[in-house]
């Protein structure tokens, strides 16, 4: 059950493992990029590029935004811009804010534990 969501423990193919990890993290990162107000897709991408090296193909952000919106964590609005075409701006819903907070807490717990576990791995020269 739910093996897809626990790539850490079930996948032996490290390439796929990393892709899954990125994808999971990207959802959280997309939510996090909107904490200071609405942004459109390209702005979210640039924000993520500046603050992390998460995104591989730029297109991947859009399905994630669409899924988060379907789950009620984001809302979107088309806003007319100087560019000559409107842009789709995303913002966090109250549920999105709560989820992001819960994710951030779980993330820090998790990464602290994992860092402790992995420290000896890197300090030991192979």
């Amino acid at each position: 059950m739910a093996s897809r969501s626990i790539p850490l423990l079930t996948t032996d193919d490290s390439g796929r493992w990393e892709a899954q990890l990125r994808k999971g993290a990207l959802e959280m990162a997309a939510l996090a990029s909107l904490t200071n107000g609405p942004l459109y897709g390209l702005e979210i991408l640039r924000f993520l590029e500046q603050h992390s090296r998460l995104v591989l193909a730029e297109g991947t952000i859009y399905p994630i935004l669409s899924r988060l919106k379907a789950e009620g964590l984001l809302t979107s609005e088309w806003i007319e811009a100087d560019a000559g075409h409107p842009r789709k701006y995303y913002s966090l819903t109250p549920a999105g804010r709560r989820r992001l907070r819960a994710m951030a807490e779980a993330w820090f717990d998790f990464s602290r534990g994992l860092s402790n576990l992995l420290k000896p791995v890197l300090s030991k020269e192979v």
Partner: protein, 207 residues
């Protein structure tokens, strides 16, 4: 789409993406394509790069479209009443584990029972002597349609009531199965989330 798309490469890309997004509703698809078109134009204006570069960074339509579909079936199914869609959604879980397989099997059984009762309800007017609920020696002997009706002491206890009663039981099976699958789908999404966070906390506690 209100923005002019002057470049044949962009047009080709959007056309191909649109074709791969078939399971979406028309409105969702239009919205998605408009968003991607805006991205391409903005990205070109911002970086001064060629269409080909910007499109290459987006990823191919074949790679991008399936990412939209992910979760679409499950999401739509947990709000749907269509047996086909619901069973398809449980089938997704069936490929992932025993619980999903069991849910699919029970769902199939539930709908089969529903269809069976409804079918025999319709058979009653056509084959009145072969369809019924026969009781022998105080317990139910057979319910449904038989090629050769049972001999006495077995006797039909429902008569023409058979049709409404079989219809009611069939509908009940259908409704219960539908809501059971919907509940299962909603629960499993919750489980997935909780399972992951449980493992996280368990893991960080263990360390």
């Amino acid at each position: 789409m209100n923005t002019a798309v002057p470049d044949p490469q962009i047009e080709q890309y959007l056309l191909s993406l649109g074709a791969h997004l078939a399971p979406m509703t028309l409105a969702e698809r239009e919205d998605t394509l408009r968003e991607i078109a805006a991205h391409i134009q903005d990205s070109m204006a911002e970086s001064g790069e060629s269409v080909a570069t910007v499109i290459a960074r987006l990823g191919s339509p074949e790679d991008l479209a399936p990412q939209y579909k992910e979760g679409l079936i499950l999401r739509r199914a947990s709000r749907s009443f269509s047996p086909l869609l619901l069973l398809r959604a449980t089938l997704r879980y069936a490929s992932k584990g025993v619980v999903g397989g069991l849910a699919f099997f029970l769902g199939l059984l539930g709908y089969a029972a529903a269809a069976g009762f409804v079918l025999t309800a319709l058979m009653k007017p056509m084959f009145p002597t072969q369809t019924g609920a026969w009781v022998a020696n105080g317990h139910l002997f057979f319910f449904g349609t038989m090629l050769y009706p049972p001999q006495p002491p077995a006797h039909d206890v429902l008569g023409w009531w058979y049709t409404p009663i079989a219809l009611a039981i069939g509908s009940l099976f259908g409704v219960i199965t539908t809501f059971a699958i919907r509940a299962f789908l909603r629960l499993s999404r919750g489980w997935q989330n909780r399972l992951v966070s449980d493992r996280h906390t368990a893991l960080s506690r263990a360390i």
